[in-house]
Symmetry: C2
Subunit: 419 residues, 2 copies
């Protein structure tokens, strides 16, 4: 039961499966007029068990696939059965296996096509299954049509019960999950950048003695998030409009943001290797770049936090761009520090590790700019509304020449939501 | 048909699905004594369609899951049905939905447990399905037992046909695929290192005018290979011994190698960013580290190529370790070059990008050493045989002081295979 308590949504899903099956068994017990199908009722049970998935997108996708595939394969099956019947008893014994071989082989080949694979894989399996069952049926044609009709109806009833239960009881939307995951991943990267300079330049001892640094490793889950994001984007496309998401919400754009976020996470992975050996570098070598690098890292963190907030609340804001501009200014001031030949006389072996951190941080700013561009594209595609700040915060630009750090405080952000 | 020609294995799989269904339809036509099951024969067709998967591991896993789950759920279903029957007609109408709700809910919750999820997910679905079908059945107990028995037999026949066809006609082993994928991924990284110094130090113009550099990007597929490797490792554990793989082949160790390979690929991703801007760096800054970096990069490439060859042929060899030692020597000579203050007077803004490359390459050597350690662990777990070189190649150690590059040629490696 422990893992059920960890995730209330899982507990609710288990409850929903139970409810859907109790609904079917009640129908089964009372047998209302629309549900008097003899032996075929088992198809309704089978459909509910197989179709009812965790997210609405998956349930709708499977339900539609199942209904459409049963309908098409049933029609084709009855057709080939009639054709085989025309050629007599012996002809039928030869023609049926040939039809099955050809259709099943072709459809299996179609399952490998990337285009069908992502959205219609389940439908293609059901197509083969239904076609074979109809072809191998011993019934006469008139009975067959009736059975096919009944089976299709039971599958529609089963699918409808599954979809109804899925949507009516605490629905889990794949699209919303994707939306939150993309925003959450940016926050994870932001956590790293906000902790980076403290950790790298050993400022942490001055504030807290013992600190939990686990938040610095949250970015690691972003490295391998590609496949789960892609799955959610496919499922999201089956979903109708819900909450703040319209019907043609640009789910594919989320994947672009996800890809850019991952590219940034790869750079972080490279940066994090230098955290381990940061104490081996002489402090005087590190301290030359400390100020600019601290600003770059914290501005990157702020950009990501703001962008993530913007995506989460579906609002447009100029704040991320201002933070990016600050980070770029800090890059310029880092470069001007470097031009003064700050490491005169130091050992180059010590220098290269510190130089690598500086260089990677400069690289990271480009990455983050690309994330912002992808988000802006999403904002215009999905028509995000401009954010209205109640306690308007201001970001003071950090000029190249003025090297003092401006503290930027935004008390509270109350975006006017889209809903 | 195009995508079928690209991958003969897919074409063969489609053929196999056709063959399995023709076998079932032939059984269906002739009805031998062991296959006279009335209406329940459709379960055999259903089983073949659903169980026959691309790899042997997946087919065996699904087949065993299906048989075991049907057996257990059938037993439990008959048991609860009898229990419900004891309480009369009205009691049954109340008790059956309660049983269904409890069992289906609990099993659905179990599906979320990571332990069950990876290996028994399909079995748990079939368990819910079978339990519901048996519980909702209208038959008397004696008939029910007979139906349950017949259904189990048809499912066993269907599973056996699927497994037989899968193993007998050009089998695809998930374990072998994982084995080749891990070796192939190392080769992809090796390609990058072998091309890196030419590309970075602009030596390429001297040899070929137009060169296809696409091999430099092959490593990108390694970045997101985690989930496919994990799936294959799970499927591989269902497979019996085959070819050079024994029954308890250490499939989990492959995942460790895969993780280390991915860590190396993340570093490569960071390195590759510097390739784009390599021409902006003044040649005199780059040339200081060219010699050592070229050796490090090429020795890393050779280590990975040799390791990959060793894994592919399941042989132990000391060659990778010798190449790692060479790379380490080159790191030391790079450090001694750096100690001479080579970039006196150059612009530090140019220096940091070059220094970052040097630093990342030093980092990469550690990564590759970890890959070699993981492979050695695999070699001892899976009892790789020492490689017997027919035309024995020698790797001349590159000493710290002697900076000339030794060309290491191994004409041909003919390992005595395990088979």
């Amino acid at each position: 039961m422990k893992f059920g308590q960890d995730h209330p949504r899982r507990l609710i899903h288990s409850f929903k499966v139970g409810v859907a099956l109790v609904l079917i068994s009640t129908l089964h017990h009372f047998r209302p007029s629309f549900y008097a199908f003899g032996d075929n009722i088992m198809w309704a049970v089978l459909t509910v068990v197989v179709v009812l998935e965790f997210s609405v997108g998956a349930t709708l996708g499977k339900g539609l696939n199942r209904m459409l595939a049963t309908f098409l394969a049933g029609g084709l099956g009855v057709g080939t059965h009639c054709l085989a019947n025309l050629s007599g008893k012996k002809g039928e014994a030869v023609l049926t296996p040939i039809f099955i071989f050809l259709i099943a082989g072709t459809v299996t080949l179609m399952r490998f096509s990337p285009r069908f694979k992502v959205r219609y894989d389940y439908g293609l399996i059901i197509f083969i299954l239904t076609f074979c069952l109809v072809s191998l049926s011993d019934e006469k044609e008139s009975e067959m049509l009736e059975i096919a009709h009944e089976r299709l109806l039971t599958i529609i009833i089963g699918s409808c019960i599954a979809v109804m239960v899925c949507i009516c009881i605490c629905p889990v939307w794949a699209g919303e999950d994707l939306h939150n995951e993309i925003a959450g991943n940016m926050e994870k990267l932001a956590d790293f950048f906000e902790g980076f300079s403290d950790e790298y330049f050993n400022n942490s001892d001055t504030t807290h003695v013992v600190q939990d640094k686990s938040f610095m490793h949250r970015y690691k889950s972003v490295l391998s998030s590609k496949s789960s994001e892609e799955t959610m984007a496919v499922l999201a496309r089956w979903e109708p409009c819900h909450g703040k998401f319209k019907f043609h919400h640009p789910w594919k754009q989320y994947l672009k943001i996800g890809n850019q976020t991952r590219v940034c996470a790869y750079k972080i992975e490279a940066l994090s290797a230098y955290l381990l050996h940061s104490k081996q570098n002489p402090h005087e070598v590190q301290s030359m770049i400390q100020e600019s690098c601290t600003i770059i890292s914290s501005e990157c963190g702020k950009t990501l936090k703001e962008s993530s907030l913007g995506v989460r609340h579906m609002t447009k804001s100029s704040m991320p761009n201002q933070h990016v501009a600050n980070a770029k200014n800090a890059v310029e001031s880092l470069k001007s520090v470097l031009r003064t030949n700050p490491w005169e006389g130091a050992d180059y072996v010590d220098i290269i590790a510190v130089a690598a951190v500086a260089s990677l941080l400069i690289d990271v700013v480009d990455c983050i700019e690309k994330i912002c561009e992808a988000i802006e594209e999403l904002a215009s595609l999905a028509r995000f509304v401009p954010s209205q700040l109640l306690h308007q915060g201001t970001v003071q630009p950090i000029s190249k020449r003025d090297d003092s750090i401006h503290v930027i405080i935004i008390d509270e952000i109350t975006p006017r939501l889209y809903e």
